[in-house]
């Protein structure tokens, strides 16, 4: 996994609550056995006017030329609810998003993001509101500083927090499976004490 340190990028405001993983990547694109090839299908039903995905919907905010280079997604509450599909963060990452800002995230989605190196940042509803007010017309560029847990934009700054180990894993690009495999002895000792029925 790539290490995450600081990131400066353009914010695209997606002013929708309860964006579920079916919207992020509809099921017809889940039939792959690789981790790549999902970015073009990100937000498919909103991003394209036709089922085949040949006609781009010019009204959908992410398609607007001024947001072409956005790498920070600003969204409303309960982002990533629904299915556990990691294909959703894969699609966001492949499209170019490195950071997602919202007032709340669905649990599984949040963990999935961290596991692949996307930084989901939870801010208060007021702070998210403030960012929405600042973001129209591609005017908002933010600097996200993970080691110091701070987002800055000119004079403004927002603190955020992350679970200690998740922060460490993101900053160091930890191979979480390898990390746990170093503890096999502890796991084996646990297994020896398990009851017979378990």
């Amino acid at each position: 996994m790539e290490k995450f340190n600081t990131h400066t990028g353009l914010v695209v405001p997606l002013d929708v609550a309860n964006v579920d993983t079916d919207q992020i990547i509809p099921k017809q694109f889940l039939q792959k056995t690789e981790r790549i090839g999902f970015g073009v299908h990100l937000f498919h039903d909103s991003r394209y006017l036709d089922h085949e995905g040949t006609q781009v919907n010019p009204e959908f905010i992410i398609n607007k030329p001024e947001y072409k280079d956005a790498s920070i997604l600003l969204a409303r509450e309960n982002f990533g609810c629904g299915s556990s599909r990691e294909h959703a963060p894969w699609a966001l990452q492949e499209y170019g998003f490195k950071v997602i800002l919202s007032s709340s995230f669905a649990d599984i989605f949040y963990g999935n993001c961290i596991n692949i190196g996307i930084l989901p940042i939870k801010l208060s509803e007021d702070e998210i509101d403030q960012l929405f007010k600042l973001s129209p017309n591609a005017q908002l560029t933010l600097k996200v500083d993970l080691p110091n847990n701070i987002i800055t934009c000119g004079e403004l700054s927002f603190k955020f927090s992350l679970n200690e180990f998740q922060q460490y894993s993101l900053e160091n690009g930890v191979d979480s499976v390898g990390w746990t495999l170093n503890k096999l002895d502890t796991i084996k000792a646990f297994e020896e004490k398990m009851p017979a029925w378990q």
């Binding site: 596991n115 200690e164 746990t180 029925w197």
Partner: protein, 471 residues
């Protein structure tokens, strides 16, 4: 004498599975059972192969083909090449890593959350995970069960553990008894209607109260299944005699003395009387009526004797806005009676409602309409949750009741719950569905889903609209 602090069931499950809580690390929990399917596992296997890592406990993992499969044919390529690729990959991966697989047409094949319980793979007091968010279903047994992403699937494969932050706890008590004709689906939809679709984010929910205790195991599964639909990490119901009777004798369940010991351990799982929860919600069972969703998330739900709400009914600006866009997507006008909404598709199936009791309940309604058939403009399909359910239903003649009334009787699978195969709705279709998600596009781009119980779905098929069966 030491007095231990009272614990919730969740805390007990957590403690008994805590492998390590090292300073500065997310706690490591042991995983007893891992269910896998074709859609969320291939990339995890690929990484194992890349790192030359084995599956640590192949015998704790069970694979089934469910999400992508055709419900018309057991041919592996019957639902298209993309699906066939994933299904074949699952076959190859299971063989290489030594995992037992229930593949096309196998007598144990079915939706992961249907076969786990019916085979005795699901046990109280265990941690069960699956790369599917409706894993919460298994919480009906007093198992801590939750959905995971593909990176976590890989972590479980390699280590048989998972890192988890401790969740908050919520107790949902349903007092008294539900009225006649009110199903488990109505109970859980009514709960979600109360909490909203994100009301339990960050929580593990424990369902309790007389109305929950009175439920059969299959009904409890329906309740726990939809825990994720209001954001909960998992749903739990305390195991009791109903649970033990269900588990005893199942193919993969412990037998003899070991089973007896297990029951002793399982009996101690329930939350201590004075355990405290971070949040408590109480409902009166007698207030719960038959439920139908009107919007595009499961929290947008109302009693069948109600009317489609108006944005003015909501004070919260986000809910108001959600209502506007839901009505627009659903093609509904505020004030319309729910019983006036006409459907043209009916789907009875999914891990929420595809078990034998669900099919019996639906068949019972068909019989109540004595000889009436599915109305002309409605297509209605019944998709049993597993081959075992299908076989049982056929031995009881339920398939005949359905087909004679004009329903299509299909092969088991996830089917129209998510429409990864060819069971997809067309744009503008309106479906009474016993599944668990009414998100935009879930059953097909531009299609409209109303979540209901099997009874309501059967009645809608025959009348062409929602029906207040208790009126």
């Amino acid at each position: 004498m030491t007095i231990s602090t009272p614990k919730t069931m969740y805390e007990k499950l957590w403690q008994s599975h805590l492998v390590e809580a090292a300073e500065g690390e997310t706690p490591l929990l042991y995983v007893d059972r891992h269910l896998i399917h074709e859609v969320t596992s291939p990339q995890a296997f690929a990484n194992l192969r890349f790192h030359k890592r084995p599956v640590r406990h192949p015998e704790r993992t069970i694979a089934t083909m469910d999400h992508n499969i055709s419900t018309r044919s057991i041919k592996i390529d019957a639902a298209g090449e993309g699906a066939a690729n994933q299904l074949r990959a699952l076959g190859i991966n299971c063989k290489e890593f030594g995992i037992e697989l229930f593949d096309m047409g196998h007598k144990n094949q079915g939706i992961a959350h249907v076969i786990g319980p019916e085979l005795g793979l699901t046990l109280p007091g265990t941690i069960i995970v699956c790369g599917d968010s409706h894993t919460a279903t298994h919480g009906a047994f007093g198992a801590l069960a939750f959905g995971i992403g593909t990176s976590e699937v890989e972590h479980v494969f390699a280590t048989q553990t998972l890192r988890q932050n401790k969740a908050k706890t919520m107790k949902i008590e349903v007092k008294g008894h539900v009225g006649a004709g009110i199903s488990a689906k109505d109970i859980i939809l009514a709960i979600i209607g109360k909490t909203g679709s994100a009301g339990a984010t960050g929580y593990v929910v424990e369902y309790c109260g007389e109305a929950i205790e009175a439920l059969s195991m299959e009904e409890r599964m329906t309740v726990c299944n939809m825990s994720i639909e209001f954001g909960a990490k998992a749903g739990l119901i305390a195991p009791d005699q109903t649970t033990f009777d269900y588990v005893e004798g199942k193919e993969y369940a412990p037998k003899g003395e070991i089973f007896k010991q297990a029951v002793v351990d399982w009996t101690n799982l329930k939350s201590d009387d004075d355990a405290t929860f971070d949040a408590v919600l109480t409902l009166n069972a007698k207030d719960i009526k038959a439920q139908v969703t009107w919007g595009t998330n499961p929290g947008q739900v109302i009693s069948v004797d109600g009317i489609v709400p108006s944005p003015e009914d909501f004070s919260d600006p986000i809910e108001k806005e959600s209502c506007v866009s839901a009505l627009n997507y659903m093609g509904l006008t505020a004030g319309t009676k729910m019983t006036d909404i006409q459907v043209n598709k009916v789907f009875i199936g999914s891990c929420t409602n595809s078990r034998i009791e669900d099919l019996r309940a639906a068949a019972g309604i068909v019989q109540q309409f004595q000889g009436q058939r599915v109305v002309d403009n409605v297509d209605a399909i019944i998709v049993p949750g597993s081959y075992r359910v299908k076989e049982q239903a056929e031995s009881e003649g339920l398939d005949k009741i359905f087909t004679e009334a004009g329903f299509e009787w299909r092969l088991p699978g996830c089917s129209m719950c998510l429409g990864m195969n060819d069971d997809v709705l067309e744009e503008g279709d309106r479906c009474a569905s016993t599944s668990n998600r009414n998100f935009e596009g879930r059953q097909g781009r531009g299609s409209r889903t109303h979540l209901v119980s099997p009874e309501m779905a059967a009645a809608a098929a025959i009348t062409g609209h929602f029906v207040d069966l208790n009126a």
